[in-house]
């Protein structure tokens, strides 16, 4: 995990989001601190899901709120200077997140992804485009992302893309990220 984080940062990934639902807080804190040491923070932001305490203790760049997660007010109040994100699954949720004061939204799943099959059909590019045109804050597309699809998301108005499987299942991060760079223009 640490080596992965280091090479993701080395090849230009803009943000790493720690999403360890089951990990005890002590272990998550150690992981966050270790990752912070490994990545080039001028290039890569480190964002943790929901835990303002971990973000503060590890000196991270932001906090990401999942469904029924931490509100933007608390992130602003306790984590000064950090960015706040929100997972959304519809235009309504995206509008709500913007109004609530989050700095960006993670919208998805845009494409079919094994992890989210249980939540029904993916949102698709048309809905992504609608969300992007209706809110001012950056929209990060997630769900079934690969370099070719990343290009389509950007064309639909997304600010960026988030990938899990595509980056973790590759043996050559450098090559994979250069594919993304070509697709996105930059990282």
């Amino acid at each position: 995990m640490l080596r992965k984080a280091a090479s993701l940062s080395k090849y230009g990934v803009a943000a790493i989001q720690l999403r360890e639902k089951q990990m005890p807080a002590g272990e998550l804190l150690r992981l966050a601190l270790d990752i912070r040491k490994k990545v080039n923070r001028k290039v890569t932001k480190i964002i943790v899901n929901d835990r303002i305490d971990i973000a503060m203790l590890a000196g991270l760049s932001g906090v990401h709120s999942v469904t029924d997660g931490i509100s933007a007010d608390y992130i602003r109040k306790f984590c000064r200077g950090m960015i706040s994100g929100k997972s959304v699954h519809s235009l309504k949720e995206a509008l709500h997140a913007e109004k609530a004061g989050y700095d960006y939204v993670l919208y998805g799943p845009v494409f079919r992804t094994p992890a989210k099959v249980k939540y029904g059909k993916p949102q698709g590019l048309r809905k992504l485009n609608e969300v992007c045109s209706r809110i001012e804050i950056p929209v990060i597309a997630v769900g079934g992302i690969n370099p070719a699809r990343a290009k389509k998301c950007i064309d639909a108005g997304a600010h960026g893309v988030a990938a899990i499987r595509d980056l973790f299942n590759t043996s050559n991060i450098k090559a994979k990220l250069s594919e993304y760079k070509i697709a996105l223009g930059e990282l």
Partner: protein, 226 residues
């Protein structure tokens, strides 16, 4: 002003489905518990903060110390009086850095060594156990018994709260160690008359002449805000 009291009730909604967290808080007030500890490992953060805020207001009104298990973030956001940290949670020292000196921080210990460690790290009290076999929580370790509890009580200066399988049938033995207090879950939440059971436990734990020289920290329940 309030002290770290002697009877702590833990709100566990995993071992039973009859009572919600808030209902257990009300039970604690009626039964004379001094501390209420909210323990929930499954609720999303936002929901946990909402519940915690409600219980914090209720406990403040009734002068019950309100502690949240594990979640320093929830304490910060909800205005609870403190946090109880297990061995896998955020370390006591780090939690102190975030919460400051006015919040209560409790730490779990399974041995004398760990209890002394929690004390050195700056915990306000130590939860020691489990004393007896219990079904309320998965326990990889053996029950500690009252002899070991007695040793911890003698050697640790901060208040020791005994936990694990404590009920009316063994409270006399536990209280006999001069332990500062007890934390209960199953013996109350599974009791046909939980409030009555709490009252009886309270009578037993306060009935013993407690004076082993442990320092009790005075805390302000009403103004514990960061």
């Amino acid at each position: 002003m309030n002290k770290i009291g002697r009877l702590c009730l833990i709100t566990d909604t995993a071992i039973q489905k009859n009572y919600s967290h808030l209902q257990i808080a009300k039970m604690a007030v009626k039964g004379g518990a001094d501390i209420l500890q909210l323990r929930d490992k499954t609720l999303p953060t936002g929901k946990l903060i909402d519940i915690s805020k409600k219980i914090a207001a209720f406990c403040r009104e009734h002068k019950v110390l309100f502690i949240v298990n594990d979640r320093v973030d929830v304490v910060m956001a909800s205005g609870a009086d403190g946090v109880h940290l297990g061995n896998e949670d955020i370390p006591v020292k780090d939690a102190r850095g975030l919460l400051g000196s006015r919040k209560i921080i409790g730490g779990t210990a399974h041995s004398l060594k760990e209890a002394l460690l929690r004390q050195n790290e700056g915990a306000d009290y130590v939860g020691f156990g489990h004393i007896y076999p219990t079904k309320s929580k998965f326990k990889p370790e053996k029950a500690k018994g009252t002899n070991m509890l007695s040793e911890v009580v003698k050697k640790v200066k901060i208040p020791v709260i005994a936990i694990g399988g404590i009920s009316l049938s063994n409270i006399d033995d536990v209280a006999g160690t001069n332990v500062h207090g007890i934390a209960v879950i199953g013996s109350v939440l599974r009791s046909p008359e939980p409030v009555k059971t709490l009252k009886e436990l309270k009578k037993k734990i306060t009935g013993y002449n407690y004076g082993s020289g442990q320092q009790i920290k005075e805390v302000c329940v009403n103004n514990c805000r960061i």
